[in-house]
Symmetry: C2
């Protein structure tokens, strides 16, 4: 039986199972729902055992006295011990549902409407996890009666704390690294461009956050007595911040672009083919917005594939009503840098320290404090064998060319790649219109089925290439 | 009898009278002391009548239902109707006295100690008002028995709300302009350089205050989704603020320096002769301070005679703990400009509007709001006849060359010059060390007597020049 035919035959069962799982209110941010998160892990573990996974484990997280929420691990080795190992990542916890009165139907009573399935978690991420179950069964069915195992050694790691900031995830990866060993990681927790424009995300930006603190006089000075004769910390900070970019919108930190992997012409060409409505995108930002940024790049290139420096906040001196004629003693700013492959947050941190030291005027002291080590960018080149395999699988399922996107944001996915030492491939069928994290979350039911079909092809294709 | 000899003979009486006046706690900022402010006005009116002023009036201020505090006006016409008219300005209200426990003796029980008179108002400004009474009597005595009136037509205007921001003063000047008509205004409410360095202030800076409000997106944006592709209001504001000065520390507003009266080489030379200890001045500002400002000028020139732009406060975006990856919707700054002769606050305001409009990037809206019309600078050239007359009078009294200073701050004195249309001359013997506005305010008793001697000479000298 062909994979597509198998999937057709299973559609009602598949959505019945998904609705059962969605009915469990596994809100990880709400301590009152933690038993539900555990029930959700239990449901998934039973389901995976039921479809044939020989190894299914519930992995507790946290410590005695401060327990975390469980992840589900499953493993189905390939018949061929030389076959590559693939780890599928997703999560089974969901976002809170407030405000409840904005939902058209109760968030944990999944409802079908015009080809959409409504309910918390339908798109983020239970629907996209469960499509792997259906896809795997279709893959097995398509292999004929002789196929008793997937063509790749398949591992699932479905965490239960993603919507709470994954506090134990990196620790879990490290302590379970031996069991999690893999050649490629498939992430099904993102979106594609549009229902009629299948696409794959191939990178996410990294992040570094810092606070710059600037100090001048020992106390606020009277600007009549001192104004014009001593440096003003607010001027100094404004200069430091304004100087972060040159006239071309490029970040001026030393060595900031040294390790940046340039956009390939193939990727730029594929980005350019996305039907991007810049006016509509700007209108989302605000009524008077204009495109702006690094010279020589399109908006999509700027927000996906180029590093940035943003001031997120600043304050100092008199901020109450009316004037106050002071030279204030101090000024502060919070800045973040979005990073792209192959920038290292530690190098950018060193560059920022150097920049601030070099541009702080005499009579002013400035310090730079980082919130943490930062988040590394992640990126898979479009010509990587696993990316090509996924692209071909999606193209087969959708019957269309598959384009590429990146994400401008940053996520814990980079931890997966770093700690497990394997490349990432994002195979996902969510849409920006799915209202994830908001009332009336939905998923397009036919896209879930297309996703299942894509992964039904993917394991064979991955088994055939050298990863 | 010589003026100096007369003053010597009156010393005990003079300080006895001053102590009597200082004992009245005329704190204008404290409603519980308003009867004392009225008593202080009554004491001065009786005193001025007692020494011979033919016209003495107590001028109430404010309105029925919202009364202000009274000023004292006195007028003693010259015998010669062609003699110039001089208006002496000072104030009889005093600052609050908290913290009381830091006073070595009670603030309203004036005490003599080592040639100093301690008490609230001793220097600011009752002592410096009363020296005019003694000076005038010395002038009359020095003129011999035939002199029954001062050589100039002398008017005193001693207000009662100076330490409360002079809320009714400009209105009083306007409504009483006919009675206050004069050829020159003598201000005795400032300081000289040092006890052994007699000096005259010849100018005060003006002031304009503004708020710059910058708006971008309709709400805070996620910097992962939009960062690098749309303008950031904090960047825009930092750019506007950093750009207020060029590399030479000059303010970049259009036409900002167009009307600035250049420092004369004579004034620069006299400033340079002041024994200014820059290191000590910087240490007052803070332990790590360095001199900074407009290229080509000394610190005293920068803070007294050159206009400035200062950022007094700025804020926007996330200012709480931790990072927040936003492009904020708005950013704000408070700025003030110190102005010098002959800048007009209205012209500077127009220049700021123009500057902000020209340097606001596409996609950002910026508005500029002014706190009021601003304060005009005031200035009397050192070669003005009245300034020369005062300088010679002080030089005679002190037996030393008299140098010149300016004040970097701004005061209501400019209102006097503007509304009455007469030039200002600052004749004062206060010191920066007098602890005005602080506990243990004092005045140097011999400086008050030197001041009285100087004004004893001043009226004759002013009568002799063409004003």
């Amino acid at each position: 039986m062909e994979a597509a035919e198998y999937i057709d035959s299973q559609t009602r069962d598949f959505f019945g199972q998904l609705k059962e799982w969605l009915a469990i209110p596994s809100i990880s941010a709400d301590p009152a729902r933690h038993d539900d998160v555990r029930a959700s892990a239990g449901w998934l573990a039973a389901h995976l055992s039921g479809i044939g996974f020989p190894v299914v484990e519930i992995w507790e997280t946290g410590e005695a006295g401060a327990p975390g929420l469980p992840a589900v691990f499953a493993h189905w080795p390939a018949a061929d011990p030389a076959a590559p190992t693939v780890l599928v990542y997703g999560h089974h916890d969901v976002q809170p549902v407030e405000p409840l009165d904005e939902w058209d139907s109760p968030p944990f009573e999944p409802a079908e409407r015009d080809g959409q399935l409504l309910g918390r978690g339908a798109s983020d991420d239970k629907g996209q996890v469960l499509l792997h179950s259906l896809g795997l069964r279709a893959c097995l069915a398509a292999g004929g009666p002789a196929r008793e195992a997937p063509p790749v050694s398949l591992k699932f790691l479905i965490e239960g704390e993603e919507e709470s900031g994954s506090p134990h995830f990196a620790g879990l990866l490290r302590s379970r690294a031996a069991q999690l060993g893999c050649d490629v990681i498939v992430i099904s927790d993102t979106t594609m461009w549009a229902a009629d424009v299948p696409s794959m995300c191939i990178g996410m930006r990294g992040l570094l956050d810092a606070e710059i603190d600037v100090y001048g006089p020992d106390g606020d000075l009277h600007s009549g007595s001192f104004g014009g004769g001593v440096p003003n910390p607010l001027h100094a900070l404004a200069g430091l911040l304004a100087g972060l970019h040159d006239a071309d919108g490029r970040v001026t930190l030393p060595r900031f672009y040294a390790d940046v992997l340039p956009l390939s012409s193939a990727e730029r060409e594929l980005f350019a083919r996305l039907p991007f409505d810049e006016k509509a995108w700007l209108a989302e930002a605000g009524h008077s917005q204009a495109a702006a940024g690094e010279a020589g790049y399109t908006t999509l290139e700027r927000i996906w594939a180029r590093p940035t420096a943003e001031i997120n906040g600043m304050w100092g001196g008199h901020t109450g009503p009316g004037p106050k004629t002071i030279i204030p003693r101090e000024a502060h700013a919070k800045v973040t840098f979005r990073l792209v492959a192959n920038q290292d947050p530690a190098d950018v941190a060193a560059g920022l320290r150097e920049y601030v030291a070099a541009h702080t005027p005499p009579g002013i002291d400035a310090t730079v404090t980082f919130g943490g080590p930062g988040v590394r960018p992640c990126f898979s080149p479009i010509d990587a064998p696993a990316v090509q395999a996924a692209r071909q699988s999606m193209a087969l399922a959708f019957g269309k060319e598959v384009l590429f996107t990146r994400e401008g944001g940053s996520g814990p996915e980079a931890d997966l790649a770093d700690i497990l030492g394997a490349p990432l491939v994002f195979v996902a069928v969510g849409l920006d219109a799915d209202r994830i994290h908001a009332p009336n979350e939905k998923v397009e039911m036919d896209l879930l089925l297309k996703g299942a079909e894509a992964v039904a092809y993917l394991w064979d294709k991955l088994a055939a290439v050298h990863l």
